[in-house]
């Protein structure tokens, strides 16, 4: 008897092993994306983190207009066409008809998408007294950091499918901002239903959008489950199921890609790229990213309020070695904030050069004694713009030792880290920025403008009126050549003041099974999975 059972058990094990390469119909239709973390919210208006944008922005939602990832040009989405008045203050959008919102177990739309939804989506972040403004924390970091709340004067309905947005001043980056991950269109009807039911906070937890995938279920730290939107207005969605398998360890993500449990993974680690490239069934794509990794000084803390100290420290480190060691040839040296792919990139921008002797002289001049000690906060997670901030911090520590300055490398768990950064408790920090759209304003404003201090994206806590007025003026013109001039002047201020040391612009990588088609890198922000196809 016992042996019979033992044999039965062996047979059972055998069945499992025999069916290994057997690909079922269901597996072909489903797409498993192994992501690096749990989203903070299902509404990208509320969170600027890349994890949230990846999981939600292009999967659940659409925007009025989109960036074409290949040409970087704006193209129509929920708005079929748009017009800008000659004074640059009035934007009119003609909306697409017969676009339906998702139908789910918790919401059944009774009407198509129309002007009310656009007005609701914009007014939610724009108006303090909007019934939804305070829901789920009421923080809209992207819009606040760009000052959009004060730029938009009114959003009005002309008819059911036409809206008019009035601005308080011309802003040539306004359209680009409407095309970012964060400017999603929510359903006003769903919001009203939730308000009537007394659960308005569910709008950010059980999302409803018009995008290619419909939310099904989510378990924090485990998975997000989406299924295809049968009525997607834009194109036929070929994947029946989309699953985010939340796998924080990059080594586990790699292993699951190798075993075929993931179809694609987020943030393949740099040392692993060669392993992935050596497998015939896997594919690695790379593209110069719209990002910048930098070392920011908290300019509201002594002695980093002195530009001399900041310039001296910038001179004390050898950026080329940092880039070779930390990014292993997968990044280009940063001269200023903008990467070379941006149209406003200035190849002649003044870059700091490695000169420890001069650095020590400047430190002496600023009255910094030998043995001065400060903290470098190193980003605790991998980001494209800085894959290993701890290692970089240790290298910088070595360089600064040569000029007689001691460094403590500090790190916290990611959410605590961001919390304390926002409170300005750091001396200096190694962090970076991933652009949300192709406009240069998306680098200059959120990183270093005075308004961005309050919204927590200005890691240097640096405020310079001349700089602010230059980047404001740049927005008054729509000609790229004119705008570039303003950004060049801003670059000069930055190299004189050195509120942060730009280090590198990293390439973006994407690793996936090569039976996936149309899986393109979106250079701005979140991944787009709506077009992906899986072939045999």
């Amino acid at each position: 008897m016992k042996y019979n059972l033992f044999a039965a058990c062996l047979v059972l094990l055998g069945i499992g092993a025999c069916t290994d390469q057997h690909t079922t119909r269901q597996q072909l239709d489903g797409f498993i994306y192994c992501s690096e973390g749990s989203p903070g919210s299902f509404n990208p208006q509320m969170d600027t983190s890349g994890t949230t944008a990846d999981a939600t922005a292009h999967q659940i939602y659409d925007r009025l207009i989109e960036f074409d990832p290949h040409t970087n040009k704006l193209e129509p989405a929920l708005a079929e066409s748009w017009a800008i008045s000659s004074d640059g203050l009035t934007y009119t959008f003609q909306l697409r008809k017969k676009v339906s919102f998702h139908q789910t177990s918790y919401f059944t739309p009774s009407r198509y998408f129309n002007a009310d939804d656009v007005i609701f989506s914009i007014d939610r972040w724009r108006l303090d007294d909007h019934p939804y403004h305070r829901v789920s924390g009421g923080v809209y970091p992207y819009f606040v950091s760009l000052g959009l709340t004060s730029i938009v004067a009114s959003v009005e309905r002309i008819n059911g499918y036409r809206i008019e947005i009035k601005l308080t001043r011309p802003d040539s980056s306004f359209l680009a901002n409407l095309a970012t991950d964060f400017a999603v269109i929510l359903s006003a009807e769903y919001a009203q239903q939730l308000l009537d039911d007394g659960h308005p906070e569910q709008i950010d937890q059980l999302p409803i959008g018009t995008g290619p995938f419909v939310f099904e279920s989510y378990r924090k730290g485990r998975y997000i489950r989406y299924h295809k939107n049968e009525n997607y207005w834009h194109h036929e969605v070929s994947i029946n199921q989309l699953i985010f398998d939340i796998t924080p360890a990059s080594s586990t993500r790699l292993a699951k890609l190798l075993t075929g449990e993931c179809d694609a993974i987020a943030f393949p680690a740099y040392p692993d790229l060669n392993i992935i490239k050596s497998r015939a069934n896997l594919q690695v794509d790379e593209k110069p990213g719209l990002n910048v990794g930098f070392w920011a000084f908290n300019t509201q803390v002594e002695p980093f309020n002195n530009p001399l100290v900041r310039k001296a420290l910038a001179m004390a480190i050898d950026k080329d070695t940092l880039i070779n060691t930390v990014y292993s040839d997968s990044a280009v040296r940063a001269r200023s904030l903008l990467p070379p792919t941006s149209w406003a990139y200035q190849a002649s921008a003044k870059d700091s050069s490695y000169n420890p002797v001069l650095a020590r002289e400047l430190l002496d001049e600023a009255g910094i004694p030998e043995g001065f000690t400060f903290d470098i906060w190193a980003l605790p997670i991998e980001r494209a713009y800085n894959p290993n901030a701890r290692k970089m911090a240790e290298l910088i520590k070595g360089y600064l030792k040569q000029v007689g300055v001691n460094v403590n490398v500090v790190s916290y768990e990611w959410s605590t880290f961001r919390q304390r950064l926002r409170e300005g408790k750091h001396d200096t920090v190694l962090i970076g920025w991933n652009a949300d759209n192709a406009d240069p304003d998306n680098f200059y404003r959120p990183l270093l403008s005075c308004a961005a201090i309050a919204s927590g994206t200005n890691r240097s806590n640096w405020c310079n009126e001349e700089y602010d007025s230059l980047i404001d003026q740049a927005l008054l013109y729509s000609e790229p050549e004119v705008r570039s001039l303003f950004y060049q002047m801003a670059n000069t201020i930055l190299s004189d003041e050195m509120p942060l040391v730009p280090i590198a612009h990293a390439y973006r990588y994407q690793a996936y099974q090569n039976r996936l088609k149309n899986f393109d890198i979106n250079p701005f922000g979140g991944i787009k999975l709506g077009d992906v196809e899986k072939v045999r």
Partner: protein, 343 residues
């Protein structure tokens, strides 16, 4: 028998009482606000805060607080996870069956590996085959379970690509939660391709089950071997052999039962060790069980969840041990003449 059962029940109640006391103490011993550790709610709005204070009896002395704690536990209100905001009992209901499922399969598999090999070694006591099996089992026993799990992944998942390395089933199969035991849930569900789902689930199960079972099997082998060797050298076996019975006859008629009965309690005790191993292995295979869940809770310092998880695992172990005690007594009334409780 009734007196025996009552004593057992008494012991059960006392033990559970001690566990609740210990977990209640944890709320005070964890860093941070005691009330927040207890309820999982961090509220600084006065009205809501007062309500929580009252609900948990924090406006009274500590004895009263403990009384309230017991009352809430009894009602099934174990607090709210501070990281996910979900009810802890609900979360445990989702994860505990996964651990039990893994442990039960591993236990069964380890018995099927361990007992035959133990007999083989015991019957060939001090011959080369015995020494071979014994050395292998000592070697196996010295391998830490997490290392074995990683080796299995490296070989079967990464090198050969035969088996998956994480989870219970591919996430593409959306199996509705019914009992929490994945195989039962698949059979109960009405998904289109049940066969595929079943084989997928079994493939996911092989490596974690094997890593736990192998470690436990080594202990089972040694326990069985010792018992078989002792029995086969005893007088009644020799007498039977002297009367002219063949060795197989002696073994099947006199050896087998006498060998197994005394070691059953020892084998059953291995289950608690196995449960610990299962919780470690879960983390490596991303198995969505209570071990994995507790590790996440520790990582994000979700104290209510840690407390709830510890309590749930303790209760499972206590209930299991007591049930097995009773079952063993029914099977073998000669044993446990002593009616004093042990655990």
């Amino acid at each position: 028998m009734i007196a025996y059962l009552l004593r057992r029940l008494n012991l059960f109640v006392v033990t559970i009482f001690v566990v609740t006391l210990a977990t209640f103490a944890l709320n005070y011993l964890f860093p941070g606000d005691t009330l927040e550790n207890l309820s999982g709610i961090s509220s600084h709005q006065t009205a809501e805060y007062n309500q929580i204070v009252q609900y948990h009896g924090f406006d009274h002395n500590i004895v009263y607080q403990y009384g309230m704690y017991l009352q809430h536990l009894w009602k099934g209100d174990w607090g709210i996870s501070s990281s996910s905001g979900n009810d802890i009992v609900e979360e445990i209901k989702l994860v505990l069956p996964a651990t039990l499922e893994l442990s039960v399969y591993a236990m069964v598999l380890s018995l099927f590996i361990g007992i035959p090999f133990g007999f083989w070694a015991g019957l060939r006591h001090r011959r080369p085959i015995d020494l071979g099996i014994l050395s292998a089992s000592v070697l196996g026993y010295s391998i830490p379970v997490f290392w074995l799990a990683l080796l299995l992944i490296l070989f079967f998942a990464l090198q050969l690509g035969w088996l998956p390395m994480s989870g219970r089933i591919s996430l593409l199969y959306d199996i509705p939660h019914y009992s929490g035991f994945i195989l039962i849930d698949i059979l109960k569900s009405d998904i289109p391709n049940k066969q595929d789902a079943l084989s997928n689930a079994i493939r996911h199960m092989i490596l974690p089950t094997l890593s736990i079972a192998l470690v436990t099997a080594t202990i089972v082998i040694r326990i069985t071997r010792r018992s078989v060797a002792d029995v086969m050298q005893s007088d009644y076996i020799r007498a039977a052999l002297a009367r002219g019975l063949t060795r197989p006859q002696v073994f099947w008629r006199h050896g087998l039962r006498n060998t197994l009965l005394p070691i059953l309690p020892q084998l059953v005790l291995q289950f608690t060790t196995l449960l610990t191993n299962a919780m470690i292995v879960e983390v490596i295979f991303s198995w969505p069980g209570i071990g994995n869940w507790l590790m996440q809770a520790v990582y994000v310092q979700d104290f209510p969840a840690i407390r709830g998880g510890v309590l749930a695992v303790s209760i499972v172990v206590i209930i299991f041990t007591l049930l097995m005690d009773i079952v063993l007594r029914v099977i073998n009334p000669l044993k446990n003449r002593d009616i004093h409780g042990t655990i």
